[in-house]
């Protein structure tokens, strides 16, 4: 043991710069960096959202409703000894000097927040936050920095909201209970609740969300919960700590899951690189192992020496990888901080430690099957090269261990066994297909290159000598490249296409919260000012109370998307006919005038709940409950930008339920001043700027896309490391061949040409394959998932080949230089 450690550490000190050690180190570094970056980032996001349990809802219990919460609940809370505060939140469009901005207004009573603090900046550029545990004073507004930037305002300016004018007193940088709205599309304006009530924006049945916050001991909180539940007021939702965390967790989970999957993909590719590099490591140490065996070392000692050498190497490279990963997650956090309401999440070290452990496990797991061969090297090899022993199946089965561990990790990360299975199957199939295609192209080139000069023949010959290894390196780089090209180019193209598909003249403003009595007046306004006759779509809010007669709980439904359906409010509409942007996918549409208790669901809404046509769903609005049979499932074209609903009933079902109306209009930019008049005449109607939302979505996609590319960048680097490892494995023979050419009188220029031919062909074939695969993936995604037309662009092909050439050139330089620089006599004598 002592010997193996001493010898192992000596080996590491002297050997760490060898090609195969660099390949092993590079693979490990990439894997650790990817896992630590993604892991730390996820931790940080979750930490920031779940930091201080009470902060998530700024209290210990929160009652929410679409109407103001009756006094009786506040009185009860006070009598129980709980502290209370009230908030009201609603969206509104601001108009400043012809600019419109969708903002989210929040009115708070002075006691807010009951848990956590608000973070303010007195100067938008100031780095430090001032923490306060009270809301704004009368006449003051605290706003997001983004709002100031967009509207060209500064602190101290005045801002009109409804009928009141506010002084912009502070920049609101952190709000504890904003975590529930993970994606903060619209900037916040916070003001005193009394001011908001006086602004005229809150009508008798406003679309605002009202909340009563309470904080106190667990017994007091429980007392209030019981009181609310006993009164069976279904329009009042109860959000306590567990349910708030669940919703937050689901949103965070969905967002980080995909990125997590990407990093595991990197691990698989890094595993391949490790296996390839370990093979060369073993080949180059056979003599040494034989020598040690000659001197009396046991097979176990030989294995131990090399495992220790690799672990030392892994530790050193892993630490560098972890540091890189940490830096990348810092970059991602800064980039995404703008989109996610992160606050300052603590950067944890656990992900870094886990990534190191995982990296070393990966290293040992994928290299031991090769290292095991060293155990069996015959001491006889010191005298004469013996035949490489046929690798027993047991050696190959060793690989099953790390692969299985990675699969389990992936399943645990993705939570969906089937998805993981398909992804893995896809990767394996792609790898095999790419190897097949590259072999075909290689053969074609060989035939086409008949009669070419010595350099070409040499380059091609080297590729063709070991077609398995050549096609593997081409496929490895091709796969990494495909992922990156698909993401960076196809995604952009899909998005442009999606935007282009929004029909010209489709609505760019939604009007919500239109009361029945306002319909006629509003219709008149449109006809008179805009020459348009709007349609009004009813909308009511209820709650999902039963599924097939049972009260659903979040615990029963593993899909995180089901939480909001079960615990949140349910907005629905009714319609006589199937709306025009909808397509039936199962079941039948109802007869006009039906009085049967039936319901129609959007397929995407029904899926997480696992309900299908024929199942029953209980919905309660006020005191009225309907247990409706699911009559059909629909697919909705949301990109039409017409108002659509997940849940639709026949008109007779809820005709007496309290409801408002929605409408959608198209207003060209020049005429958007009309909105100012509209908001003055109809102060309770919410104007939602879809154009602005679309802009924000586009911005969000761009930022998330950059972050994703960062993660997929690791995949590409892992692919490049595989390429380096495979190239290293042919390094010795390349040097020998080059030496032979030199002995035969080949000059440097021709030799360089020959070597460049080999690498240029690899790059070209990998680039073409990646372009083809990316195009195919893009087409599949477009036609099968997004229902879009997809035209493959020449850019995809050009960029794939360009990136491929760049990577191969970078990776091959050191090998080419060594081959060129080695004196032929020394090279031949040494081998």
């Amino acid at each position: 043991m002592k010997f193996s450690f001493l010898h192992g550490s000596r080996q590491f000190r002297r050997d760490w710069r060898s090609g195969e050690m660099l390949a092993l180190g590079g693979a490990l570094l990439t894997a650790v960096a990817a896992v630590s970056a993604v892991g730390s980032f996820s931790d940080r996001v979750e930490d920031s959202l779940q930091r201080g349990a009470g902060e998530v809802i700024a209290s210990d219990i929160k009652l929410t409703s679409r109407t103001d919460i009756p006094e009786i609940f506040e009185e009860k809370a006070a009598s129980l000894g709980l502290q209370t505060a009230r908030t009201v939140t609603f969206p509104t469009v601001l108009f400043i000097d012809g600019q419109t901005l969708l903002a989210s207004v929040k009115g708070v009573t002075p006691g807010y927040p009951l848990r956590g603090t608000l973070g303010l900046r007195k100067d938008p550029q100031a780095p430090d936050l001032v923490s306060v545990s009270h809301g704004p004073g009368r006449g003051q507004a605290w706003v997001d920095k983004r709002l100031l930037a967009t509207l060209g305002l500064t602190l101290g300016d005045r801002l009109d909201i409804g009928e009141l004018s506010f002084t912009l007193a502070s920049v609101l940088a952190y709000e504890p209970d904003r975590g529930g709205q993970f994606f903060s599309f619209s900037p916040r304006i916070m003001a005193h609740r009394a001011d908001i009530e006086a602004s005229g924006l809150l009508g008798p049945s406003s679309r605002a969300t009202f909340a009563l916050l309470a904080a106190g001991s667990a017994a007091e909180v429980s007392g209030l919960r019981d009181f609310v539940e006993q009164r069976e007021q279904n329009e009042i939702g109860i959000v306590d700590l567990p349910s708030a965390q669940r919703q937050v967790g689901a949103t965070v989970g969905a967002s980080t899951e995909f990125i997590g999957l990407a990093s595991l993909g990197t691990l698989f590719i890094a595993g391949i690189a490790i296996a390839v590099a370990a093979r060369r490591y073993v080949d180059r140490r056979r003599k040494q192992a034989a020598l040690l065996r000659c001197f009396g070392a046991s097979g176990r000692t030989v294995l131990l020496i090399h495992i220790q050498t690799l672990l030392m190497m892994g530790g050193a490279w892993g630490l560098v990888g972890a540091a890189i990963g940490f830096a990348v997650q810092e970059l991602m956090t800064r980039m995404l901080g703008e989109v996610f309401s992160l606050g300052a999440g603590e950067a944890g070290w656990s992900a870094v430690v886990i990534s190191l452990i995982l990296g070393l496990t990966l290293l040992v797991g994928f290299s031991v099957p090769e290292l095991a061969r060293l155990m069996r090297v015959a001491p006889m090899e010191v005298l004469r090269r013996t035949e490489t022993p046929v690798r027993p199946i047991r050696d190959v089965l060793w690989y099953a261990v790390p692969v299985l561990v990675l699969i389990l990790l992936t399943v645990q990360q993705a939570g969906q066994t089937r998805l993981v299975f398909y992804v893995l199957l896809g990767i394996a199939a792609a790898l095999v297909a790419m190897m097949g295609v590259s072999l075909g192209l290689l053969k074609l080139m060989k035939r086409a290159a008949h009669g070419v000069g010595v350099s070409w023949r040499f380059g091609l010959g080297r590729l063709y000598r070991d077609p398995m290894s050549t096609t593997f390196q081409i496929a490895a780089i091709g796969l990494g490249l495909t992922v990156l090209v698909t993401l960076s180019l196809v995604r952009g193209q899909l998005f442009d296409n999606w935007e282009a598909r929004v029909p010209a003249g489709s609505p760019n403003f939604f009007l919500a919260n239109i009361q029945d009595f306002e319909k006629q007046r509003l219709g008149g306004f449109f006809e008179e000012r805009l020459g348009e006759t709007p349609s009004f779509i009813p909308m009511a809010t209820g709650r999902l109370v039963t599924i097939n007669g049972r009260v659903p709980t979040v615990a029963d439904y593993p899909d995180p998307r089901s939480a909001s359906r079960i615990e949140g409010n349910l907005n629905f509409s009714w319609s006589r006919d199937l709306p025009k942007d909808n397509r039936l996918v199962s079941g039948e549409w109802w007869q006009p005038g039906t009085t049967e208790a039936v319901v129609s669901l959007a397929k995407s809404w029904a899926e997480p709940l696992g309900v299908a046509v024929g199942d029953r769903m209980g919905v309660r609005v006020g005191s009225q409950t309907i247990d409706a049979r699911i009559m059909n499932l629909r697919e909705v074209r949301w990109e039409s930008f017409n108002p659509n609903f997940f849940v639709l009933f026949p008109p007779a079902a809820f005709q007496n339920a309290p409801h408002t109306f929605l409408s959608a209009i198209r207003l060209e930019e020049a005429r958007q001043d009309e909105l100012v008049a509209l908001s003055r005449q109809f102060p309770t109607v919410n104007i939602i700027d879809i154009g602005a939302i679309l802009g924000q979505v586009r911005h969000l996609m761009k930022v998330v896309g950059v972050a994703l590319n960062l993660v997929f960048g690791f995949t590409l680097i892992a692919g490049a490391v595989v390429l380096y490892a495979v190239m290293q494995s042919s390094h010795d023979s390349r040097i020998r061949d080059a030496a032979m050419l030199k002995v035969l009188g080949c000059d440097r220029r021709r030799l360089l040409h020959a070597l460049n031919t080999e690498f240029a062909l690899i790059a070209l074939i990998a680039g073409v394959i990646a372009a083809g695969a990316a195009t195919l993936t893009g087409w599949l995604l477009a036609s099968q998932v997004f229902n879009l037309d997809y035209t493959p662009g020449i850019t995809v092909i050009a960029v794939s080949i360009l990136v491929s050439v760049l990577i191969v050139w970078l990776v091959s330089r050191s090998g080419v230089q060594t081959a060129l620089a080695s004196p032929p006599q020394a090279t031949l004598r040494a081998r």
Binding site: L292, G296, M380, L383
Partner: protein, 226 residues
């Protein structure tokens, strides 16, 4: 009663080739006493290296018996044979086989550490000094000349004070002057340490310095060793 360090009785080695069974060695018997030197000579392909490999326990015979340092190699497994070699058997190769990434000193320390020597560094330094490489101990193999590399390899072989030393063409890669120097060293050390020597060589003058000679042709012993 003579004390044999090495004894081979009717040792044969066959391999399966594309054309069927191929006999590389046929019923070779030999004996080497303590401190005795045996030269194995013969043309290329006569089976010299195979015989040395079998005698040193690096490979197993198809039939016959080999007793090395009092142990029957036939009853030992691979690790058992390795254990036997550790500390008792020395090797010198034609291509030196110094580990590229270790210094001369560390190369000599290698078998000492494997044999569990208490002060491997000190002992290795002593041996390098003895072969005239005291000032080269921190040099890597690539920084040494061929003769120097072989001298380092010889000190590595003798550092463990072996009972028997196997040398496979130890001067095969050296010029005349270096060959002479290495051969001198090899015989002098064997004599002073009373180690038996099994020397494979093409060089008849070198073979002539050994007490016994065994000539192989096509895997068979020609004439009597003596």
């Amino acid at each position: 009663m003579k004390e044999f360090v090495l004894e081979a009785i009717n040792v044969s080695r066959e391999v399966l080739g594309p054309a069927g069974r191929l006999t590389i060695l046929k019923e070779v018997s030999l004996q080497v006493e303590k401190g005795e030197a045996l030269a194995i000579t013969g043309p290329s392909g006569s089976g010299k290296s195979t015989l040395v490999a079998l005698l040193a326990g690096l490979d197993s015979p198809s039939s016959g018996q080999i007793i090395l340092a009092g142990s029957d190699l036939g009853v030992l497994d691979e690790d058992g044979r390795a254990q036997l070699r550790a500390g008792r058997v020395g090797f010198v190769f034609q291509s030196f086989y110094l580990v590229d990434t270790l210094t001369a000193l560390e190369n000599v320390m290698l078998p000492l550490e494997l044999a569990g020597h208490a002060t491997p560094r000190k002992e290795a330094a002593k041996w390098l000094d003895r072969v005239g490489l005291a000032d080269r101990q921190d040099h890597y193999p690539r920084q040494l000349s061929g003769g120097e590399q072989q001298r380092a390899a010889i000190s590595r072989a003798f550092a463990i004070d072996p009972e028997i030393l196997f040398a496979d063409e130890p001067t095969g890669n050296l010029d005349d002057a270096a060959s002479e120097q290495v051969a001198e060293l090899l015989f002098a050390l064997c004599e002073s340490r009373e180690a038996a020597l099994v020397l494979v060589t093409h060089d008849m003058s070198l073979a002539a310095r050994c007490g016994k000679q065994l000539r192989l042709e096509k895997g068979r012993v020609i004439g009597d060793p003596g």
